[in-house]
């Protein structure tokens, strides 16, 4: 991924976000056994494969007529597997992909690859606090690995888990596995509560001006995710941290509520039929522009003059949206989810900011950290609802013809899979990743994508070290390694800046 920003008089006037890799999954999937999509699409992303496993399984459940037949154990195990992946991805993102923009690793450990080369000039934490943050970078490597190990108890292995399949989950929830999972989870919860969230608060206090930049399109979209069975109230086990977990009654539904939310904080109901994908500025044939993914197509055309990306431009009712932890937390917040409100209000109180400040670079990091706690605590609750030795899967058959859609939430934002089956084979498969939404190029109407909008208008203090731009892009957690290119208003290159 590459970002090209045109800077005039120290301010970004225009930006282009470009996907620089095309593999053609949707083309490769055509003609294959529909069940294989569940294994193949995980390979779209090695950081969040279980989100694609979940989306493709939901899509296949839909096409196979299984959606209302899933055992409670299936929903709970899927949620536990996906939840584990959220935790590893969020911890990896903050500590290993983003923190080195704010924390002075060189000051703590010296001039060592992979900590050098880097930007110079704006590291604002020092001394003991800085050394502690660098220690947490190393500790977080262990914790994120342990998230993967926990996931494997029911998911089989990571990356590219095997547990989630159409009809449910192949592994059985036995008492020994539940306890094993619980105590791994408690170690991770301890890290989230006592290290991750306090570290985000420490960074937010030192860089409070980043509550004011990178706002972008300010229209948030959550498809909703973590489908749960109706919940029985059971006493939760007491934990090392003294917290008894999620606690509230829920009558099924989803952990994350779907909605479209703008700065007026009024949730608008979401319907998947309102999604379209433009391709005017993408290297795909124009005949496919403006289609709903259920009818979408993927025909590469690398000769198109005005195109600059392999990413299409997904839009909701024709409008640009931002997806991710911020969208989910705000969606839950404005729909009065008690635990979300408590977490968000508490953090905003600690840093002395209002809800408006969430639409920012630091708002995205804060939402990601708080969401980690929301998910981790809910996972304790899900574990206790598993029914040991009862089935977690129903048998299924491939229909002659069928259609399906599977929408859920991935760590970096909502993800959707759409498929059509003909003669028991995949006729059409379409995937919209969260990064396609966030890092999309301009659409047919010329509206810049979410990351592009977040950069345009930003003041760049030091052209040699454009911290502002890399911090904005990275806060979105794009799933592709990315570079930022700066141009002056005549188009002369000022430098290339990598972001991950």
């Amino acid at each position: 991924m590459a970002i090209e920003a045109v800077v005039d008089d120290g301010v970004v006037k225009d930006a282009k976000s470009a996907g620089t890799l095309f593999r053609g999954f949707e083309i490769i999937l055509q003609g294959r056994d529909p069940r294989d999509a569940n294994r193949l699409t995980q390979r779209i992303c090695g950081v969040c494969p279980t989100a694609h496993a979940t989306a493709s399984a939901l899509c296949l459940d839909d096409a196979f007529g299984l959606t209302n037949k899933l055992p409670d154990n299936a929903k709970l195990l899927r949620a536990l597997i996906l939840g584990s992946n959220f935790l590893q991805s969020h911890i990896l993102h903050f500590y290993h992909l983003a923190a080195l923009d704010y924390v002075d690793a060189v000051g703590a450990v010296g001039d060592l690859a992979p900590f050098v080369p880097r930007y110079e000039g704006d590291y604002r934490v020092s001394g003991k606090v800085n050394a502690e943050l660098v220690n947490h970078y190393l500790k977080a490597l262990d914790i994120r690995r342990k998230c993967q190990e926990m996931l494997s108890i029911f998911g089989g292995k990571m990356p590219h888990s095997v547990g989630i399949v159409p009809g449910g989950v192949t592994e059985k929830p036995t008492e020994d596995k539940i306890t094993n999972f619980l105590w791994r989870l408690n170690e991770i919860r301890d890290f989230v509560d006592n290290i991750y969230i306090p570290d985000v608060v420490a960074v937010a206090k030192a860089y409070s001006d980043y509550f004011e930049i990178g706002g972008g399109c300010k229209r948030l979209l959550a498809y909703g995710g973590f489908d749960l069975p109706p919940r029985l109230l059971v006493p939760l086990p007491r934990l090392a941290s003294g917290d008894t977990g999620a606690g509230e009654d829920k009558s099924g539904g989803k952990l994350f509520k779907s909605a479209v939310v703008s700065t007026n904080l009024k949730p608008e109901p979401f319907a998947k039929e309102n999604i379209t994908e433009d391709v005017k500025h993408s290297w795909y044939a124009d005949s496919g522009s403006g289609k709903n993914p259920a009818k979408g197509e993927t025909k590469p055309d690398t000769k198109k003059k005005q195109a600059y990306s392999f990413i299409k431009s997904p839009r909701y009712k024709g409008l640009v949206c931002e997806l991710g932890p911020l969208a989910r937390m705000v969606s839950n917040y404005v729909q009065n989810d008690a635990k979300t409100k408590e977490l968000v209000d508490s953090l905003l109180g600690q840093v002395g900011a209002g809800v408006d400040a969430l639409f920012s670079v630091l708002g995205r990091h804060a939402a990601r950290a708080l969401e980690s706690k929301l998910v981790a605590d809910a996972m304790v609750d899900w574990l206790t609802q598993l029914k040991p030795d009862e089935p977690a899967i129903v048998d299924s058959e491939i229909p002659e013809e069928g259609e399906g859609a599977g929408l859920t939430e991935a760590p970096r934002g909502a993800v959707g899979h759409w498929m059509t089956i003909k003669n028991k084979k995949i006729d059409r498969y379409q995937v919209i990743t969260p990064t396609a939404w966030n890092a999309s190029p301009k659409d047919d109407k010329g509206q810049p994508g979410a990351v592009e909008q977040a950069i345009i208008g930003t003041k760049v203090k030091d052209k040699e070290n454009p911290f502002e731009l890399v911090r904005i892009v990275r806060a979105f957690d794009p799933c592709l390694a990315c570079s930022v290119h700066l141009l002056d208003f005549r188009g002369n290159r000022l430098g290339i800046f990598k972001v991950v």
């Binding site: 090695g46 080369p117 089989g156 690398t302 290119h485």
Partner: protein, 288 residues
């Protein structure tokens, strides 16, 4: 006595970063040890370039590539993750810019490969093309060895397939190189270390006794051998059934899911449909 340092450049092509994430899951040694410590006494890696985990941005990191290629000729290890898109001059995958133009994966893997001491292809995409090279291979993806052969690059290639590869296949291979030198790697005719890829999954499968007794799972979630549900462990060469995954917690067959043959040179086309029983021909065919 000084430490012998091996500079490492880790390039990412048409892949998913899953092999990098898998190496982050390494346990003994941990990723911290791989990055910061003498991996074996007197020998240490120095990861100069990795797009995902390095702190750096911008011009300086592209300079690292140029500098390594020129000034450390024959002295660095190149690791390649992901396949190499070759259609239309490599336009389907670029990793940055050089001289104002797209720097394609195809070009950089050749430039860096030509001057490397050794290339390690990690994962099935980099070794054999993998999923991006699956039918109809829309971007002309190929494995590293094939690209080297077509362009007269003689640098030796070690293949560590797997989708993703097991972290210990990587740390184990590097240990052999650091302890005893690359010549000590005992490779098969597909350039895979026999130590990790020498035996069939089926040979050491915990469900092997079920197969021998004729106890077969009829649907996912059942007890018994997964042969009738499409398990490819009968012709797949890797040590998953012994080593297991994620610090020994589980692996595909233990979790009730058939092996999909993800390490095989024919993956995924030759190992699909994944849930259909392997044929008698496939069962009796042997690549060794």
């Amino acid at each position: 006595m000084g430490t012998k340092v091996y500079p490492v450049i880790w390039l990412q092509g048409a892949g998913c970063t899953g092999c990098s994430v898998s190496v982050l899951n390494a346990v003994s040694p941990k990723i911290q040890n791989l990055l910061l410590d003498e991996l074996v006494p007197g020998h240490q890696l120095n990861l100069l370039f990795h797009a995902t985990i390095m702190a750096g941005q911008g011009e300086p990191v592209i300079e690292v590539l140029k500098d390594t290629e020129k000034n450390r000729k024959g002295g660095y290890i190149l690791v390649v993750e992901g396949a190499i898109p070759t259609a239309e001059g490599g336009i389907y995958g670029s990793i940055g810019e050089k001289d104002g133009k797209h720097l394609t994966i195809l070009e950089s893997v050749q430039d860096l490969g030509r001057n490397a001491l050794l290339t390690i292809a990690v994962g099935t995409c980099a070794t054999f093309g993998g999923i991006p090279a699956a039918k109809p291979n829309p971007t002309g993806c190929k494995g590293v060895k094939e690209v080297f052969a077509e362009n007269g690059i003689g640098t030796p290639v070690v293949n560590l397939p797997g989708c993703p590869l097991h972290p210990e296949w990587f740390t184990g291979t590097v240990s052999i190189i650091l302890f005893s030198g690359a010549d000590a790697l005992d490779l098969d005719d597909l350039a895979r270390p026999k130590l990790f890829y020498g035996k069939l999954i089926h040979e050491n499968c915990p469900r092997r006794a079920d197969f021998d007794k004729g106890k077969f799972a009829k649907k996912l979630g059942d007890e018994g051998c997964l042969y009738e549900l499409g398990c490819k462990g009968h012709y797949t060469y890797a040590d998953c059934s012994l080593r297991q995954w994620n610090n020994g917690v589980s692996w595909c067959v233990k979790a009730g899911s058939p092996c999909i043959g993800c390490v095989e040179p024919t993956f995924p086309d030759g190992t699909s449909p994944m849930y259909e029983k392997v044929t008698f021909e496939e069962l009796t065919w042997s690549q060794k």
